[in-house]
Subunit: 528 residues, 2 copies
């Protein structure tokens, strides 16, 4: 096969296998046209084969050095890049996202794979800790104890629809799990099976080129309610990564919690990402703020987890002017194509529900949209109504945002206190405003994973300091990020070796520290 040939089969531990049942195909959301490729669902027996392959690969991976795993990650990036325009065209056709966005996302995806390669080559991420023996300690000798992180084992990754590359088949979850030394079984997203299969092929070829065990990667098509649940329930699954809706995330969480052996589910379920405008912010540059707000809301047709769905500001003439300017910009925003017709339908229903609540004013025009197309929408309400209407606290996935006007600081604080867990919160103001609203900042800090000053929440940097996650319901486990190098920590657990002979220890724990990693030795961080 050529590298860019579209395989419609399921990839199970290195082997392509035909699926079962009626074939399905993907649809171009921009045109409604069917796309090439008759995909077939995996059978439940395939789930078992994929997980058994992953367990066998997990065993073999434990004796493969991190440098070889790093080579595998880098080779995946190469193979994805080698797919060239074939991948861009397919992803564009399957998602309605423009080619430039797909190219950018491909760069991010490959950058992520290479970043994790460098993290595991450097090696300090294993949090090695060494406490040396004190044989003559009274009343009891102190033993030699050495601890490091080891991989959890097979990880199931659910591909997300809104980032068909960066949070899908070879996205952040897959890259961080493989980096940790865990085999990955991907449940492909039904909206972009072709994109997913092309990337799966890239991973497959990279595994062969770098002599990785075949079971290190499998790729299954099928409905989440059948194949997805079967993967989460499988006894060999050790962890689950997911980005998507709260509804689906909670089903996975509850399925895992009900297993005889519970496993962690890292579900990032989005949020409304409130933006607070403090003090006289709006008096400064209302035009500039409205333009940046409109751009952040409409980025990627509003399909970012960090989309600012809520803007909270003091009422008054400045806010009135801001609303007029923002409404104008929303009206000027061209119709966008959402990822699927179903998502667009759900977006429009969400808007209708908000309007039916009777407490929301529509500031932008009511456009006419069909199929997967969506018109951006700007809505407004008062803090009083926001506080008493739970519906307004729910995410409407798409290019809309709700402006909440507050009569005073007390109301603004009440809005902050009333929020559920969020991926982000943003504050606009001067340093002085910030100091004066330290109670609001403190309240927000307990409800969010990332807090932004004088910026916008969209745009999630991939770096060591990024936290993409947050208190429930933004994610099921706020102790972990799904973006940035710390994402690797989701897929590892500590093990201690007591009085272990040096030759039998993993290299990271031997006295000589050949890798030169940073370790905590007798309580002190050192590279010695």
């Amino acid at each position: 096969m050529t590298n860019t040939e579209l395989k419609t089969e399921n990839l199970i531990a290195g082997e392509y296998t035909s699926g079962t049942g009626t074939p399905f195909h993907s649809v171009n959301p921009a045109t409604g046209e069917d796309l090439s490729g008759d995909f077939r669902n995996a059978a439940e027996a395939d789930v078992n084969r994929a997980m058994e392959g992953a367990a066998e690969a997990a065993r073999r991976l434990r004796s493969i050095p991190p440098s070889e795993r790093a080579g595998f990650l880098r080779t995946i990036a190469e193979e994805i890049e080698a797919l060239g325009d074939t991948l861009v065209e397919r992803a564009t056709a399957e998602t309605g996202l423009p080619a430039g966005r797909i190219q950018g996302e491909r760069g991010r995806t490959c950058g992520q794979l290479r970043l994790f390669a460098s993290v595991i080559e450097e090696g300090s991420w294993v949090d090695a800790r060494i406490d040396r023996a004190i044989p003559d300690r009274q009343p009891l000798p102190k033993p030699d104890i050495r601890r490091m992180l080891m991989p959890l084992g097979p990880v199931v990754v659910f591909a997300a629809s809104n980032f068909p590359l960066a949070f899908s088949t070879a996205g952040g979850d897959t890259a961080s799990a493989l980096a940790a030394g865990c085999p990955v079984v991907v449940k492909a997203h039904r909206a972009h099976p072709g994109t997913s299969s092309l990337v799966a092929g890239a991973i497959h070829r990279a595994a062969i080129r770098t002599s990785m065990p075949a079971g290190i990667f499998s790729h299954l098509h099928g409905p989440g309610s059948v194949i997805g649940i079967a993967l989460v329930k499988h006894p060999l699954t050790e962890a689950v990564g997911f980005t998507g809706s709260r509804h689906a995330g909670m089903i996975l969480h509850q399925t895992a919690a009900a297993r005889p052996k519970p496993i962690p589910v890292f579900a990032e379920m989005g949020s409304i990402n409130p933006v607070f405008l403090l003090g006289n912010t709006l008096a400064g540059d209302p035009q500039g703020l409205a333009a940046a707000y409109c751009q952040s809301v409409n980025l990627g047709v509003g399909q970012f987890c960090t989309n600012p769905g809520l803007l909270v500001a003091p009422q008054g003439s400045h806010l009135d002017a801001f609303e007029r300017e923002a409404a104008k910009l929303f009206n000027e925003t061209p119709k966008g194509t959402m990822l699927t017709g179903a998502i667009a339908k759900s977006y429009h229903e969400g808007l209708r529900d908000l309007e039916k609540s009777g407490v929301v004013r529509r500031l932008s025009n009511d456009g006419e949209c069909e199929g997967a197309h969506a018109c951006s929408a700007l809505l407004a309400t008062t803090a009083e109504n926001f506080l008493k209407t739970e519906l307004l606290h729910e995410e409407v996935f798409g290019p809309s945002s709700l402006i909440v006007s507050c009569r005073d600081r007390g109301e603004m604080m009440a809005v902050g206190e009333h929020l559920e867990g969020q991926l982000t919160a943003t504050i606009h103001g001067t340093d002085k405003d910030l100091a004066e609203h330290c109670d609001l900042v403190d309240t927000l800090s307990t409800r969010v994973g990332r807090i932004i000053f004088n910026g916008w929440p969209t745009g999630v940097e991939v770096c060591p300091s990024m936290n993409h996650g947050g208190p429930f319901p933004a994610s099921t486990d706020p102790r972990y990020t799904s973006v940035g190098t710390a994402a690797i920590l989701r897929f590892a657990r500590p093990i201690s070796y007591q009085n272990w002979p040096s030759s039998a220890l993993p290299p990271a724990l031997r006295d000589e520290n050949k890798g030169g990693i940073t370790r905590m030795v007798d309580g002190v961080l050192t590279r010695d």
Copy 2:
């Protein structure tokens, strides 16, 4: 009140409050006598008051510097020591444990509190990460992002029966949660309410002396099935620490998983801690090994989570000799007093069930034990029987152990592969044996939290490298330890600050790094 006066009330956010219902008292397990003190259960309204006090304290704690929290932890240790013999006598009377053990445990408890004080004073535990802005990066500017750990919020701690000080009211869970900046609500253990109340009084006085918010600590008596469940279900509870039985731990896990907002439950549920004797180990010093084995099994009347409940060895004349020697030593071990009559009853029932299985030989004599007294028991079976009898894989909490004889290495490997998750595994042999059994070592490493060479699992060092936890069912979350400085990580989560002005950042994230902590700056660990 004098410091050593026994308070029988519940302590709720700094106030002593009478409980409800029929009073209960503790019993001296050694004599069966009732002990002084009419304790009363907390009411469900008390749960709410304790949690609301904790939430308010969590808010106030965020602006209290770590040095003051460290002072609080050290003052708790001082106040516990100031209880002097009153505490030792009460704990001895309530648990049947000898005074020397209680004194040792008090030293460990106070040492732990001081260790966590030094961890938070040093400050690097917050895992600070700073990525500085690159305003002219193409295609988009890189923002300034800074990340650190922050406290999760109110933590519920279930006191354990088997360590009335070190895993109870001011034990490892409480010390690490307070160190992280989380208020603690303790559900006192019914078997040692007096000990627990004395220690709660010490914490109460320490909170007053160091001006901590009143809600930083509450102490409630009551049945786990009522008060414990109400605490786990309470919407303000953010995490739960527990050490005890699998049955109780799983109820807490499932209760938490079914909450509208899920929270982590760190339940350490014990295990059978297998010991493998490789190669010709038994040919060397069978007497010495038998003595060390007998001592480890019977330490604290077998009531340690790391009690070696299973010994796996090659069959043959060496094992026969070892068994005879061990049986003699078990028979010479005096009857012990278990923590409660109920625990002793459950121990004897567990032994009876093993014997009823028909596949177990009793090597030690069948002693006669009544009340809370227990006779140590040595049992034996074959690997073949072990592999096909699930009952033999379950922990029998108390001074017993089961010897599993293997016909060959294949059987020994099969036993290893058949094990559930364990806190520990131990291997005895030469370095050469270890190298020859690398497959067994590899298998065990995936099933345990700590792996010991030529030693015994009892004795859990409190240090940075300790891992006390392990794959399910040893614990509900193998990613965390409940002993050692890393235990603090259970009660924290990351938050990122983006483009935040320096003056508004937490001190750990400011450029100047006044605390001199180790941070990851632009990907490199440094104290600058």
